[in-house]
Amino acid sequence: MPPLLRIKNLVKTFEDNKVLNGIDIDVKKGETLGLFGSSGSGKTTVGRCIAGLERSDSGSIFFKGKDLQAMSRREKKKVRPQIQMIFQHPEISLNPRMKAFDSLVEPLKIHGWDDKCSLENKVEELINLVGLRREHLARYPAHLSGGEIQRVVLARILSINPEFIVADEPTSMLDVSVQAQVLRIMEKIQQEKGVSYLLISHDIDVLRKVCHRIVFLKNGRISGVENA
């Protein structure tokens, strides 16, 4: 079976700094692939290239067999919802002026969900999936903890049924008990919906616990692969 995502010989340079120097990665459907490396090793750049937030200098990123970077704008618009990203810093992941409910409704409306009643049912379903309560919906991000924000972000992402999620250090700013909650929720979602994750982390203990395979990055190159 072909991989859901295939990265071939990815190269990315910022000014004179070659951050990625020929990266090859495959991620299967329903797999959690860990990406490990120290700060500056290029982990986040890989994730940002997949999510379309950076464009590589050369190389290709195939999603379901199609090169993301060679697509037309119209094609990209169709594919982009299927690839979503969770960022490291919960405090800047949500619009500070929107309540959690509005943050969850926004992507649904963009994707054509206009029936108010079914919209509310969908939001309820989403918060149950990530273990939040109704009372969280009326809160602004400033009144939510880091773990609660990451769960709102996860629910927001899941609202448009992605098949691939890039999670860039999703728990590095969280304490151990909340980290365990968020990672277990991600695991449960994978079992229920079959999503694939690229989990970027500098915590090898976390990766060994939740990933199927781990790719080690060093100075923009893959230095090893481990089956967890």
Binding site: S39, M173, V176, A180, D203, I204, K209
Partner: protein, 310 residues
């Protein structure tokens, strides 16, 4: 004799929804030269204690209890005398090093500003920081002073702030989440930095952290906080290797190497606190008594625990 003594400390924040009990009857003491850790999950009130010691809480905070530092009662000092202690005697290495530096100014100017406020000769101050940066194992300290904050990594920013704090030779350092968001390499650097401060400078350090491994490496004793209360205090190896309180056990079980077992449920509302134990709804070992009667602290094996099981 205790060096820092926090006794029956309560901090409430007055909000439009009611009074939020951020810190609820906290007592602990630190000896000179000791490294004392406060551990617990986000929102448990750890950082509020550090801010209460330095009297840096916002105006809606109501503080009760006492905090004595040497012969001084910090909560009754006037502002002028508190300013003599803040930064000079007690210094804070803040939680987010990036947010503590002005991105528009060169590091050198930010160092000079501190000494200017303190009324010390700027040149002498910069010289002392240069020595301190060298001492904290930073390469090319002169170049670092000429850089802007964005040119330093997270770990370097933290060392730079530590050097600024240590230049005044404070006898007590408060470090708020020193390893938050750092990768393993930078964490090791932070650990070396704290060992150095502890060993070479003999500083007393109050470490506020949710990084249990870091606490185990650096602290002599720790207090575990849950929902604004200390639930357990004792020598770090006892607490983190043979914990007594069910919350401490749950916290350790959430570590990836111990199974990544999440703690179910939510912390209680801090506006309407329940009558019984604050951990009651999440505890696997609860009894009926736990739901109705708040446990008091009891002395056990060189420390204290707040649980009806003991």
């Amino acid at each position: 004799m205790s060096y820092l003594n926090v006794s029956s400390l309560c901090v409430d924040f007055l909000t439009e929804n009611g009074s939020v009990k951020a810190v609820n009857d906290i007592s602990f003491e630190m000896k000179k030269g000791e490294t004392f850790g406060i551990i617990g999950e986000s929102g448990s009130g750890k950082s509020v204690i550090g801010q209460a010691i330095l009297r840096l809480l916002p105006s809606n905070a109501v503080v009760n209890g006492s905090i004595s530092f040497g012969a001084e009662d910090l909560l009754s000092l006037d502002n002028k005398n508190m300013r003599q202690i803040r930064g000079r005697e007690i210094s804070l290495i803040p939680q987010n090093p990036a947010g503590s530096l002005n991105p528009l100014l060169k590091n050198k100017i930010q160092v000079a500003e501190v000494f200017e406020v303190m009324g010390v000769n700027k040149k002498e101050g910069i010289k002392s920081v240069l020595g301190m940066l060298k001492n904290l194992l930073m390469k090319e300290p002169a170049r670092i002073l000429e850089n802007h904050p964005h040119e330093l990594s997270g770990g370097m920013k933290q060392r730079f702030l530590a050097a600024m704090c240590l230049s005044y030779k404070p006898s007590l350092l408060i470090a708020d989440e020193p390893t938050k968001g750092l990768d393993s390499f930078s964490k090791k650097g932070t650990l070396d930095l704290f060992r150095h401060m502890k060993g070479e400078h003999g500083n007393s350090i109050l470490v506020i952290t949710h990084d249990l491994d870091f606490a185990l490496e650096i602290c002599d004793r720790v207090a575990v906080m849950y929902a604004g209360q200390i639930v357990e205090v004792g020598p770090v190896t006892d607490i983190l290797q043979i914990p007594s309180h069910p919350y401490t056990k749950a916290l350790l079980n959430a570590l990836p190497r111990n199974g990544l077992i999440p703690l179910h449920g939510h912390t209680p509302s801090r506006i309407d606190l329940p009558d019984g134990c604050l951990f009651y709804t999440r505890c696997n070992l609860r009894s009926d008594k736990c739901g109705t009667e708040r446990p008091a602290t009891k002395s056990i094996k060189g420390g204290v625990v707040r649980c009806h099981l003991y």
